[in-house]
């Protein structure tokens, strides 16, 4: 067969569906992913975890085929030699130290005790837990626990890393450090799959995204391209300040702003159809106003509005 001579994509899903009884988990998804960080975006229940569990051989596809490095993960555990998986499960062995936990799991890759310990120290260092690795995991914060899970997935230097909601429940500092770890892995040329239901998180990590909605593949491609489409649609910017009315006067004259509202006391809502341009003029107006601004938010800049736009777009088309 000629296909053997062609490079096999790291992750390949061919018309994969997964039904839980009558409930659809994944519906006719075809995907090929190779190299770099890919964000899997989707609301809760969109099928992100189902997709990952199919990849990890936890679930058997109802239809279609799943291949990792060209191997079916349901019947063969061989691909896991080259895969690191961070599940959404929060439970760890609380009585173990991080080093213990990671090196025990490292030994399942066939490492000797010493190799496992050396590699574990290395990856724990990499995820920024070098000073606490001898403490019991039970005493860790949520962000630290997430990083332990990431460390265990990296301990054998895998080619494919699958992270299910790695930023979930983390504080901003942990979030930043986990994001930089993921970006670093992408830079090392590994294939990384990260799922999230928060657009901004994915945006800070990668541009390559897959959007799942109700078990279906909704969009795949570059986040910026999708984002640009979205930006040209009506957007709101919410500014909290001392005197919204005087600030509004300065905005109303400018080009991408076509309307203002005062939803609450001390709040100004600007309506625009070019978010990027609106953000580019925003700093100078704020500086000129001499007002104390307590926050600037983009309430439409989230997955829901992106999905809403894409679905609306699809419905329109």
């Amino acid at each position: 067969m000629t296909i053997q001579n062609q490079p096999v994509p790291t992750v390949l899903l061919d018309q994969v569906s997964k039904l839980y009884g009558q409930v659809i988990g994944i519906n006719d998804v075809s995907l090929a992913i190779d190299g770099g960080v890919t964000g899997i975006l989707g609301a809760n229940g969109a099928g992100k975890s189902t997709l990952f569990k199919l990849l990890m051989g936890r679930l058997k596809p109802t239809q279609g085929s799943v291949r990792l490095f060209g191997i079916n993960p349901w019947s063969n555990s061989a691909p896991y030699r080259k895969i690191g998986y961070v599940s959404e499960s929060e439970r760890l062995y609380d009585w173990m130290t991080a080093l213990d936990f990671v090196s025990t799991l490292a030994r399942l890759h066939g490492m000797t005790r010493d190799e496992a310990r050396e590699r574990s120290e290395h990856v724990l260092n990499f995820v920024g837990l070098d000073d606490v690795m001898h403490k019991e995991v039970g005493k860790y914060s949520k962000g630290m626990r997430q990083r332990v899970k990431i460390a265990h997935a990296l301990v054998h230097d895998p080619d494919l890393i699958v992270l299910d909601e790695p930023l979930h429940g983390c504080d901003p500092i942990a979030r930043t450090s986990i994001m930089s770890v993921i970006r670093e892995l992408g830079n090392q040329g590994k294939t990384v799959l990260v799922s999230s239901h928060i657009l901004q998180e994915i945006e800070r990590i990668t541009e390559q995204i897959v959007i799942l909605h109700n078990g279906k593949l909704l969009a795949i491609g570059n986040l910026h391209a999708i984002r640009d489409l979205l930006d040209n649609h009506p957007h709101r910017i919410l500014i909290k300040c001392e005197n919204p009315r005087s600030l509004a006067a300065q905005f109303i004259e400018r080009d991408p702003v076509y309307g203002v509202r005062f939803p609450n006391e001390g709040e100004l809502e600007i309506q625009t159809n070019n978010l990027a341009k609106a953000h580019s003029i925003l700093p100078s107006i704020v500086l000129n106003s001499n007002q104390k601004i307590s926050s600037i938010e983009n309430p439409d800049d989230n997955l829901d509005s992106l999905l809403g736009y894409l679905i609306g777009d699809a419905n329109d088309g």
């Binding site: 691909p79 896991y80 998986y85 499960s89 929060e90 439970r91 025990t104 399942l108």
Partner: protein, 568 residues
Amino acid sequence: MDKNDKTLADTVWTRLDRKAGAIIELTARQLRHRISTWVVLGIGVALMALLLLFYVDSVRKSFDPIDNDGDSVDEDNDGYPLGQEMKYGTSDYDASDFPGSGFYIPEDEIDWNDNVRTFSGNKTWNGAAFFQYEWIDYNYTGDWWDDIVDWDSELSSCPDGQIFIDWYPSYGEACIVDTDEYFIYGKWKGNGLATVPEEWELRWGYYSESFEVTPDPPEMYIDEDDIDCFDEAGNRVDCPSGTRLGGSHGFDNDGDCLREEYMLSETNVQLALDYDLYYRFQDDRNGNGIKCDVFWLVDADGNEVIGISADDNVDEDPNDERYVGELSHRTFIIGVGKMAFVILLGLFIPLFLSLGLVRDETENGTLHFLLSKPIHRGEFILYRLLGYLAIVASYVIILALIVGLITATLGPGDQFFRFSDLPVWLGIGISTTFVLAAYGSLFNTMGLISPKYGVYFCIIFGIWEFMMGTFSIINPNWTVSSISITHWALQMIDAIVLMAWPDTLQWAEIGLAFNIETGLSFFWHPPVHTLGTQSPGVALIISTIVLSLVSFSMIGIGQSVFSKREIM
């Protein structure tokens, strides 16, 4: 050879080893961090401590000398214990009948149809007669309940008319006929002329010389007749004899079978036709033609005692430290091994520790970490079970050896330490390990097949196993009980006991034959499944194979169930 110049075996095996090692270690450490593990294992230790207390309190007491045949008592308070009275053939229910008291020897009689109806002399009489006396022994007097005439109460004149026609005396009565003549019906002593009424009878005889016998202290009749065995040369050896098992053994150490000082010689006994003493004198009850011996019956190849038959009063009060102690000690070990180790620990440890070995990991979600590693799910189950076994097997083996060390130090016998106990305790530990493996893999599989209801199945199964285990102890030959895991582990213990103490068969027979009721023959039976060889080794191998097969098939079922299971 792969590119790193390692042989295939090298790479495959060391990698397997490392994975196995990691999961086994993880499982063992996990169990160590669970409170339920320590509770279950702690209860096991407490149970053993309790049984050891029982051992010290009860089993060790049985090493104290006791009067097995009950012949140290003196029922009639004549100062002579039963054992001494038996030697002299006297009764322990009659204070006038005691060693040296002399006894009645019958001489002759006048029958109901004899023509000569008178006899004169100084005799002890028994019957009905008009007695013209020269002398009457008024000291030989009786009470209303014996047959001896009561001379102490006032005698009246006999009524008019013909005796036995017009009036009837009662037995043991006398009445006055004339100044020197009585009518007497009963027993009396006197010198004179007796005339027997028509159709009545009179017997007479004399009492043998009385002599002085010093009463023995009752302690003499405790452990006074030990079990005796002899070798080919006739030298006394420890029982059961290693060199000459079968044949005539036994010796009547206390002389209550041989009865050399017995008051009746055999000729006298022949004379005493009407005297029940004859029937008391039985010195070859087992009918092997040898008086006062113990016959040990062996099987065809002569190495197993299958029956012991003792003449009356031979070897009937054995040395308690040696026999009762040894039997109780062995019974304790076998009983504890079977009931406490195999049935209780064997069932409850897996019920608490193995049911959730894989199931709990699934429920906690920690399974995802383990299964995202290059390890087959089937392998995972096997290593989990090995990790569980590593903990529980070392627990039961160490526990068995500790209990073994204590009882081997406290146990009966001359030696300071009973080394021969240790293989049995080790065997108990190993048998329990096989049970733990079989139940462990079964319960784990049940937990996998039905995470919700598996535990109920396991409890019902546990009740079945408990019942079958109990039946297997009582009667291992009952075929139905072999459809259980405990049965085969109990068979292992039976076989190991017989291998470590080959004389246990004899000991069980000794317990039965000499009425040493320690329960050895209840708790221990020769192994059943020997394919007709009666070899404990064969039974041990068969039981081991059966238990291993159960374990492996259960692991196999669990593996195939788990491999097809979708994990959320």
